[in-house]
């Protein structure tokens, strides 16, 4: 031992690491080792390079960084001796992967080693190439590997065959070069070569149709014979596994036959006998035998139909299914999934057993069985199976409930025979596992409920009873709250009783209790609370006697830290208090949601296009109006990309309200009259702009309502509203309109000049944006904001604030003034500079807030600007 060598032996290092009591100690030991290895690396120490690399591999396995050892691998590989190369290649495979550039440096060494006189060195190179080669290396070294497929020693031939698999995977174009050499490999006697040759052959067939045809013609007979020989071979100790000679070879042969027989009757026919023999003669008491049977069944299922064989295969699966070994049951379920498409009836026979597997204690088996059951459900057995599954939902594991719920919901949606059954089952699921139900599922349920007008009373009573027992399932609470809000009167008065129901006594206070509990429940989130507020508003009109109590509950949310809730509760409070006369009209029942449109949206159909076309034709409006309503309700979580941004998440309440109040202008008839009396409402509506004849916002709102009182004239003006004049309409409405505005956004001008936009407009204020860009910096946009006062009063302490998402940077310059005189005499200008880091990919959006004092009262206006020209 060299007395000057600093390092410890590998064995000693491992001991030292294992002796560490804490992670910190271990880190210290490793830091020390790494330091000395680094020192050795920089000294270019030859004597201990292989030992250092071995240490590094161990350190790497523990998860520490070892990149500094990569070059050491290359040096060892370039060394002449076998021991150095052996450890060098091992290090290469462990420390590097195909994506590292360093790997390219090794190509030359590999090439030399592939041509080395020592066959073990050739073997090392082949192994490394097979495990980590990249596409470029594959291209460079394919000729060498191809040549080695004919090497004299079979052990090199088999390595070369597997290496070729990697090469073909990386560069599929090279497949054809390997076809001929492989054909000769398939005739070999050496099991290793045969085994690897077959695998390469399968890979080639996957990549090239021509190769598949070639092998099908030339090799099918030969392979059938090889399989026969293997099946009938006498005891061979070298390959024997529990009484079967080389099950690996069996399985590979069956796999290749499956590839060759698939879609070809002649080839399938020629393997008929041997498959029958394997299926009947193979011992099934050991894993090896079962593995062969399993492969054989898969082959029988995939090749062309041969009478009798499939029956045999399904019987084997039936036997597997009743096996006590969990592994065997698992693969049986797996294979039965494939068998369903071949022979549904045969699989149906095992339905009860499969259903038992859904309740197995093993998560893997449960999951497989559930997938399978899902395939087996049809019109005739849906009721029985759903009952079983829902019953099991009560006792199933918490982490399995998600999967199970999703599948049940999907089954119920797909195959429900009638609405009452659908509603019953969905409510049961909500009751048992409401927290696992996806948003689109309960949205769909609400759509179905609104459509089943004869079941409104039944449903709301059922929900009332359910929520008494289970207040923790969020989606159950939401649906119940929604239904109580809509159909509260039917709940209290037992309207629409079905024969099968027992009458229940619910007072108005009981109904309000439910909503109150829900809004105060600690686990309720924003959506639930928002829905509760709406329900309360609706109930205040449905139950006049509880009006004061409801007002108190609503008032409690005034202090909510969530802006949305706070704002709405203030608004609702004033509706309840000050606007008794219009309240009942405001909170009328939701119009029936169109099922077809909703399911169309769910299917991701191009709703926006459909709606915009129907809006163009005046007659189409009343039928299509339901779709925007769904939009506004935010019932569809899967927004099409073109839909208006307002209907997502945070603005939920506002959207609801927009719809809720929209009948109002049409009912009170004269729009002028509202303007003075209901400023609050106009704010709520965020229409803002006074409804003069040329504004398109009012008719648009009208068009949203399904109220039959809509006169013809607004409808007429609607068609003009979809014309370019839309751009000038108020922003809030712009958001809504975006979803179904057929006219392209106003960005068609020549590249650099952008038309000014009305960024925000309310009854009292208008904000215009003028854009300019400096040449050379396309990401930066200069915006000049112009504020105009539309009222006759002076606004003081005028402050404009803006916020942008992370990909934008905003710089606000001081405003020209903080006082805004009335009647639009003067305006305030303020410069903004926005830098768009996603220029060309994302367009700008901005939230704004404007505060000012009007007669010494604070006024706050907010909005979102999303009608920026697209390529800013």
């Amino acid at each position: 031992m060299n007395p000057f060598s600093s390092g410890t032996r590998l064995r000693d290092m491992i001991r030292a690491i294992r002796a560490c009591k804490t992670a910190a100690e271990e880190r210290a030991v490793i830091r020390k080792e790494c330091a000395s290895i680094r020192a050795a690396v920089s000294d270019n120490d030859n004597d201990y390079r292989h030992r250092n690399l071995a240490k590094l591999m161990f350190i790497h396995m523990l998860g520490y960084p070892t990149h500094f050892g990569q070059m050491e691998c290359l040096k060892l590989i370039a060394a002449p001796g076998f021991p150095e190369k052996r450890i060098g290649y091992l290090g290469l495979m462990l420390l590097l992967d195909e994506r590292q550039e360093v790997l390219m440096l090794v190509t030359n060494s590999l090439k030399q080693d592939l041509n080395h006189a020592n066959q073990y060195i050739v073997g090392l190179a082949l192994c490394a190439l097979g495990n980590i080669c990249s596409a470029e290396m594959a291209r460079d070294l394919a000729p060498e590997v191809e040549r080695l497929l004919q090497f004299r020693d079979p052990n090199i031939r088999k390595k070369a065959a597997l290496c070729s698999i990697r090469i073909v995977k990386k560069v599929p174009d090279l497949a054809e070069n390997f076809v001929n050499p492989v054909a000769s490999l398939l005739k070999e006697k050496h099991h290793g070569v045969l085994l690897t040759g077959i695998q390469l052959c399968i890979e080639l067939c996957n990549h090239s149709e021509e190769a598949l045809e070639y092998f099908r013609k030339k090799c099918t007979e030969g392979l059938v014979k090889v399989l026969k020989d293997v099946v009938n071979s006498s005891y061979a100790p070298e390959y024997d596994i529990s009484g079967i000679a080389d099950p690996f070879l069996h399985i590979r042969l069956l796999h290749l036959l499956r590839v060759l027989g698939h879609g070809d009757a002649d080839a399938s026919d020629s393997m008929n006998d041997i498959l029958a023999q394997v299926a009947t003669k193979t011992e099934s008491n050991k894993n090896a035998g079962n593995a062969i049977l399993y492969e054989c069944v898969e082959t029988i299922m995939s090749i062309e139909d041969i009478s009798g064989l499939r029956v045999l295969a399904i019987n084997i699966l039936g036997r597997f299914l009743s096996n006590r070994d969990n592994n065997i049951r698992y693969v049986a379920l797996n294979m039965l999934m494939k068998a369903v498409s071949v022979d549904d009836q045969a699989v149906q026979r095992h339905r009860t057993t499969i259903l038992e597997c859904v309740k197995d204690s093993d998560a893997s088996i449960r999951k497989r069985a559930l997938e399978l059951i899902y395939l087996l459900v049809n019109e005739s057995n849906v009721k029985a199976l759903t009952k079983e599954l829902i019953d099991y939902l009560q006792v199933s594991d918490q982490d399995f409930k998600g999967d199970l719920t999703a599948k049940i919901c999907s089954i119920v949606e797909k195959l429900s025979p009638d609405k009452i059954w659908y509603i019953d089952q969905m409510l049961k699921v909500l009751f048992e596992a409401g927290n696992h139900v996806k948003d689109e599922v309960w949205h769909a349920l609400i759509v179905v409920i609104t459509n089943a007008s004869n079941l409104h009373g039944y449903t709301v009573r059922l929900l009332y009873k359910a929520i008494q027992k289970s207040a923790d399932q969020e989606t159950l609470v939401r649906v119940a709250v929604w239904c109580i809000g809509e159909y509260g009167d039917m709940l209290v008065n037992n309207i629409g009783m079905l024969n099968l129901e027992d009458p229940i006594t619910v007072t108005e206070n009981d109904a309000v209790d439910v909503v109150e509990t829900a809004i105060k429940h600690h686990s309720s989130d924003l959506t639930t609370r928002a829905m509760c507020l709406i329900a309360l508003l609706k109930l205040s009109s449905r139950f006049p006697s509880c009006s004061q109590r409801i007002k108190d509950i609503v008032t409690q949310s005034k202090g909510s830290l969530l802006l949305e809730l706070q704002q709405r509760s203030i608004e609702f409070d004033s509706i309840i208090e000050k606007h008794q006369n219009i309240r009942s009209a405001l909170v009328e029942r939701m119009p029936v949601l169109d099922e077809a449109t909703f399911s169309g949206r769910k299917a991701g159909s191009i709703l926006a296009a459909a709606v915009s076309t129907s809006l163009n034709s005046v007659n189409g409006v009343s039928t299509s109006a339901a779709a925007p309503l769904v939009d506004l309700l935010d019932l569809g979580a899967d927004e099409p990309a073109t839909a208006a941004p307002t209907s997502s998440g945070g603005n939920f309440l506002q959207d609801l309200l927009d719809v809720g109040t929209s009948p109002f202008p049409s009912q009170s008839g004269t729009t002028q009259a509202q303007k003075n009396g209901t400023d609050v409402l106009l704010d709520l509506l965020s229409i803002g702009s006074p409804p003069p004849e040329n504004s398109s916002s009012a008719p648009d709102i009208l068009s949203l309502s399904q109220d039959n009182k809509i006169s013809v004239s607004p409808l007429d003006s609607l068609s003009s509203a979809t014309a370019p004049s839309v751009q000038a309409s108020s922003t809030a409405m712009m958001d809504l309109l975006d979803g179904f505005d057929p006219s392209p956004p106003p960005t068609k001008d020549n590249g650099t000049a952008y038309p000014p936009i009305v960024a925000f407009e309310s009854s009292s204020l208008r904000l215009m944006f003028n854009f300019s860009k400096q040449s050379g910096s396309p990401q930066v946009t200069e915006i000049v904001a112009n504020f105009t006062n539309k009222s006759s009063n002076v606004y003081t302490n005028f402050i404009f604030q803006a916020a942008v998402p992370k990909f934008l940077q905003l710089h606000l310059e001081p405003a020209s003034s903080n006082t805004l005189p009335g009647n639009g005499n003067e305006s305030i200008t303020q410069k903004l500079r926005v830098t768009n880091s996603q220029h060309g990919k994302k367009s700008m959006v901005m939230r704004i807030r404007i505060s000012y004092k009007l007669n010494n009262k604070d006024v706050l206006e907010e909005g979102q600007i999303s009608n920026f020209p697209r390529d800013l």
Binding site: L195, Q199, I251, D362, S364, I365
Partner: protein, 161 residues
């Protein structure tokens, strides 16, 4: 195709990892963490397969070690169990009733053997004898080279005295 092979001890320590599909260093440690959590927590009587990220992981426990192999959905799970057993038997013959400590201190040997069983995630050899013979030959090549080096250095050492 086998995407990777993992040997994990019952305490969650990694004893061997072999990646046949590209995973970055970060992904590798994430995979190991996820799988050891999933596999070590499974009871003894359950089946040997877990579904994971659209793949299947076949595992088998031998004493304190879990041998895991990740395969495609459509691969034959039962056969992979046999491959695991095949590898374990070869290890057993090589070390003479193998134990975890053998694999810790001779981890490189375990890798050499694995490289004779699998290449590119596919089975290379179904004969245990052949694998044993190939590994033994290569070991003896290394021994011979060492002896030679020693003898030469001895000669030089003597000559320079």
């Amino acid at each position: 195709m086998i995407h990777f092979v993992l040997l994990i001890s019952r305490q969650g320590k990694v004893r061997l990892t072999k990646w046949y599909s590209p995973y970055s260093q970060k992904e590798r440690s994430k995979v190991i963490r996820e799988l050891s959590g999933m596999i070590l927590s499974r009871g003894p009587k359950l089946c040997n397969f877990v579904e994971w990220r659209g793949f299947k992981v076949v595992y088998k426990r031998y004493a304190s070690l879990y041998f895991c192999m990740c395969i495609n959905q459509e691969d034959n799970e039962l056969e992979v169990l046999e491959i695991i057993h095949h590898y374990v038997e070869i290890l057993d013959r090589y070390f003479g009733s193998v134990c975890e400590l053998d694999l810790i201190f001779n981890f490189h040997k375990a890798y050499y053997i694995l490289d004779e069983v699998l290449i590119a995630g596919e089975l290379q050899e179904s004969s245990k004898k052949t694998v044993a013979r190939l590994v033994a030959t290569q070991d003896s090549l290394v021994e011979a080279a060492k002896e030679e080096a020693n003898s030469i250095s001895n000669i030089i050492a003597q000559a320079t005295k």
